[in-house]
């Protein structure tokens, strides 16, 4: 991603979480991956001031206790967190989930590929996009980090 802040992954399936982690490793994405097993935990992570604010949230929709939609609603109504881009990563291809997610201002809705190789490609695309895109950060950016990721993408500035 564009900066080195963590990526928050809200995902209840431990194997799916492992898949994201492994894909990051294979793609050499250096952002730390913070794994929350449901919406409640993810929200708690955000609210804990000692935690690093994530630069991106990858969100599964079907989670116990607090599902993706509920989490989205909470996050997007909180001025402290609404700026963080959220990308839905789910198995659900239900149109109503897609519509509801975009109504709640997600910045992408991706269906988890079944095949691991395709999963890695999807993660690559996500990483490329969120490296290209600016990310909102109240703290000053590290200019070096910016150049590094540009080089990693094969772009010249």
């Amino acid at each position: 991603m564009r900066d080195s802040r963590p990526v928050l992954l809200a995902e209840d399936d431990s194997i799916d979480a492992m898949t994201v982690r492994r894909a990051f490793r294979d793609l050499k994405v250096t952002n730390p991956l913070v794994h929350a097993i449901n919406g409640e935990e993810a929200l708690a992570y955000l609210k804990e001031k000692t935690n690093d604010r994530p630069c991106l949230i990858l969100l599964d929709l079907n989670m116990p206790k607090m599902n993706g939609i509920e989490f989205l609603t909470a996050v997007k109504t909180d001025p402290a967190f609404k700026k963080i881009p959220v990308v839905v990563l789910t198995t659900s291809s239900e149109q109503r989930d897609v519509v509801e997610s975009f109504r709640l201002s997600v910045a992408g809705y991706i269906i988890k590929p079944v095949d691991y190789r395709n999963f890695v490609e999807a993660m690559r695309t996500i990483n490329m996009y969120w490296t290209l895109s600016e990310l909102p950060d109240e703290k000053a950016e590290d200019p070096n980090a910016h150049n590094q990721t540009l080089v990693a993408c094969g772009r010249s500035s």
Partner: protein
């Protein structure tokens, strides 16, 4: 971008529109692109019920004036338009603009490279991402 649905490019300056259109064209994506020359035109286009709603809005925010931000606000507060993701294209990374844009729930803020080849590359990344992503189907 899914080729069945239109893309709306909102760009004030004709040269911006031209360049982006050319880049999209090089990628084979320009057929479904609708361009409105300004944010007011864009709003009118979006609000007109006979027009097909775009799957994605590319908003070229230039430094002059707050029209872009106002447009963003207007779109996001309109329940019939709020589900359409908006990606901002800009000349320079003004941190305040970035923060404000994400505060208004944009789905990306991309600084346009001055180099044309790099711009095409950027548009390709945008296309790959938004092809991978599902988009809400609007009224047909």
């Amino acid at each position: 971008m899914p080729t069945t649905k239109p893309l709306l490019l909102v760009a004030d300056r004709p040269e911006d529109a031209l360049t982006i259109r050319r880049a999209l064209g090089d990628l084979g994506m320009a057929e479904r692109m609708v361009h409105t020359p300004g944010t007011e035109h864009a709003l009118a286009y979006l609000r007109c019920v006979t027009n097909e709603k775009p799957a994605l809005i590319l908003l070229d925010l230039n430094a002059a004036g707050t029209a872009g931000i106002e447009f963003l606000r207007a779109v996001k507060s309109d329940p019939s338009l709020g589900a359409i993701p908006v990606v901002v294209l800009s000349d320079s990374p003004q941190r305040q603009d970035v923060i404000q844009s994400f505060d208004l729930n944009v789905a990306g803020y991309i600084v346009k490279p001055t180099d044309y080849a790099a711009l095409v590359e950027a548009m390709r990344i945008i296309q790959d991402y938004w092809s991978l992503s599902y988009l809400p189907a609007g009224p047909r």
